[in-house]
Amino acid sequence: MIRIQTDDVDIGALITAAKTPETGAVVVFDGIVRNDGITEMELEAYEDVAVPELEKIAMAATEQFHLQHVDIVHRIGRLSVGENILIIVVSAGHRPDAYAGSRYIIEEIKKSVPVWKKELTKDGGRWVPGEHGHGSGHH
């Protein structure tokens, strides 16, 4: 399941669905709104580009790390401290592939998927700066 959505997701159900009889490891990454003196976080995405980009990353990770199953759910909209932002669930035969595949997916998302975050504070808000020199798509 590759999705950009406002709703939260049942991580337990994703873990159950990720398992196959050949699965030896499931790794879950859960990115969470951290309390950096903020009230809420607002996320927006260029969905027409972000979803295909997530699918591309999932396919590349599957191939490179022999993953059996990949879920990526990136939430948008207004999220409070403690809420899930990004959930990545991967399964593999062995833990090195599961860990490496999960890590690959999050690092690629940070580089190339058009999503932006604004930290909302009592005094207004601030856009989280992206990684300069990167951006959606490839050179």
């Binding site: 932002i85 999050i106 998927v113 058009p114 856009w127 300069h132 951006g135």
Partner: protein, 92 residues
């Protein structure tokens, strides 16, 4: 012709988004974005430098594909195009 212009994140806040424009044939991508952004100084200054070129961190896409900033002055927009302009991505 009709071209849709989409801004995201800070650029959206400054300039709006999903703007339907009607450029003349022969309009370059750079010229179109400059014309639309030029209506609001703060938005224009966020995207363009003092020489009127895209700031180096700005990302421009045409129909979901990235356009190199150096090419924006020569690429012509076409009827039905969707042009997206946004700052570096910060998801995850």
């Amino acid at each position: 012709m009709t071209v849709k212009l989409r801004f995201f994140a800070r650029f959206r806040e400054l300039l709006g988004t999903d703007l339907i424009t009607n450029p003349n044939t022969g309009t370059t991508l750079l010229a179109l974005v400059k014309e639309i952004a030029g209506t609001k100084k703060e938005g224009y200054d966020a995207i363009f430098d003092e020489h009127g070129m895209f700031r180096e961190f700005v990302i421009v896409m045409r129909n979901g594909k990235r356009v190199e900033l150096a090419d924006a002055a020569t690429v012509l927009v076409a009827d039905g195009d969707e042009i997206a302009v946004f700052p570096p991505v910060a998801g995850g």
